[in-house]
Amino acid sequence: MPLTHLIADQYPVTTAPWPRFRVDRESWSRAAQTLASGEVSLVSLWAEPGQVHLALLDEAASPAEIAILSLACPEGHFPSVGAHHAPAIRLERTIRDLFGLEPAGAPDIRPWLDHGQGASYRFLGAEGPGLHQVPVGPVHAGIIEPGHFRFTVHGETVVRLEERLGYVHRGLEGLLAGAPLDRAIRLAGRASGDSTVAYALAFARAAEAALGIEAPARAASIRAVMAELERLANHLGDIGAIANDAAFALMLAHCGILRERVLRTADEVFGHRLMMDRIAIGGVATDLTGAGLRHIRALTTYVRRYFPGLVQLYDRTASLQDRTVGTGIAKPDLVRRFAAGGFIGRASCRAFDVRRALPYPPYDRLAFEMPVRGEGDVNARVWIRILEVEQSLALIDRILERLPDGPVATSLPAIDGTGREGVALVEGFRGDIFAWLSLDGEGRVARCHLRDPSWFQWPLLEAAIEGNILADFPLCNKSFNCSYAGHDL
């Protein structure tokens, strides 16, 4: 049991549903080494004034386990985790930027989220005859989020890519601190607009864990319907967009129609196309009516009818496959080390899905398949998404078949003046979203940390593009579709 061995005889703090322990520097460093050995995975690393927290996942345990270690750093520094385990590096750079805590011994301390004033940023070099750099962004040629990419290329071949993010840093965690719960969940739902349901769900579940309440069964089912609709919309949109980046606009047009149908259904049923602010703490804000049920059933029938033709089109168009097969390979070993979630992980052998590993209602009662492939290329990521579209359709049908009756929200307990803490991990369309929050004695958010799956996926994109031609970057990038907003916060 790697987790219990790490935290033996330390001081527990009340957190639900997973434990948190105050540890000393030795245990902290030991945890960093255990991460490096691959026995446990990194869930997140974050800070609040004067202390740092490390959330670890033991995937091998059954069921999987999570534990959080906290280290007080009164002198303003803590032993670097990134020195042992690369996935922690960007998180440590963030902690340094936003909280001024020094990761002692860290391999990279360049600013990450906070660009500071004036100081120029030193990009990592690649030197050799015939190499040159291509800077791109933060304003890109298309309608996408801002970030800066620095490519070092040899002819057409990318030798190194370095990402610089942080342009859409909105100070979200700062706004969350001190916010009442109803405002906080609206803010959390805007961490990344494409995952608004998943973020609101993660926040709500963490808050509910802290308050010791549970959403009623009907609410849990409706939440899952929303989450699967969100997954469906994003996968459909992205499958089309990936094909479009391979100059196959026909797929974009058809997938665009399917995606629009999903959004219109969401609008009709829940009153918002992206389903923002539909999940509330303790339940959902909108019940599902008989008409709503019929709309959703009509949608799944429609998608089932048209989607297979598009899949066939993708599968049988050699010019398209030529661009996606073997392109942008994320190596399974790297994916495992970074514990990359979602379709990126599952396209590279990492069979991890929160709905399976740490199931929350109603997924604990639902059987579904978790598609996994091993090639790790653009094609594999497209296929995982295709199969997940089918799984989501099946899940929606099954949830609706057994939709429980009853209330859709439970009332919040009276505030009793004591602080509380909660954690949650939920499966968004792009992977696992982690939320940790502590409430003060008045029921306001004292601190909240949200970790987007992109933190562990962006670095893999840097690796996956190596050795590919620059012209294939859009394809690789779109097949990853990492979030800028969710990451920059």
Binding site: V139, I143, V168, S192, G256, D267
Partner: protein, 172 residues
């Protein structure tokens, strides 16, 4: 593939009726706009979109304008890759400190006469991020918006209505 292409010939079009211009938005456009646009815009509008700190929700809906339902290009409105080719900047997000310079530079690169449209509550006035020290509080903090399209995010049809209002004003 042929099947999909042939189906396209026989199926009825999906496109919605044009939503028409919005009187309230029309009233919000200054006389300055009308004078300048008449010369510049015929029935075409080239847009450069800039995400200045959006949660990406607004981008998703702006993207949707291109799908078969809204088919923005039938109105002569198109998104361009370079600010040099643009008539207007469509800006989203509460303008983060880190996007300020990029937004200013993009604006400088657009040839005059030029306009700014704020899309979404964040771009209109900072939205939920108004109080954040990391944000400047809407497009107006940097550039003066000629038109504001509210919503979080605005629905595609609302965005379309806003853009058509601009064109309408230009033609009167």
């Amino acid at each position: 593939m042929r099947k999909e292409l042939f189906a396209g010939l026989v199926l009825p079009p999906l496109t919605e009726a044009s939503p028409g211009a919005d009187d309230a938005l029309l009233a919000a456009l200054g006389p300055e706009f009308e004078r300048a646009t008449r010369r510049r815009l015929g029935r075409s509008l080239a847009i450069r979109e800039v995400d200045a700190g959006s949660c990406n929700g607004c981008e998703l809906e702006i993207h949707a304008l291109g799908n078969a339902f809204y088919d923005l290009e039938r109105f002569g409105i198109r998104f361009v890759a370079s600010p040099r080719h643009a008539d207007l900047l469509l800006v989203t997000g509460p303008v983060t400190r880190h996007m300020r310079e990029a937004l200013e530079r993009t604006w400088t690169a657009v040839p005059a006469p030029k306009w700014v449209v704020a899309a979404g509550n964040c771009a209109c006035d900072g939205g939920l991020f108004q109080e954040s020290p990391a944000c400047l509080g809407g497009v107006d903090a940097i550039l003066k918006a000629d038109l504001r399209i509210k919503g979080c995010p605005p629905r595609p049809v609302e965005l379309l209505r806003g853009l058509l209002t601009l064109l309408e004003a230009a033609q009167r």
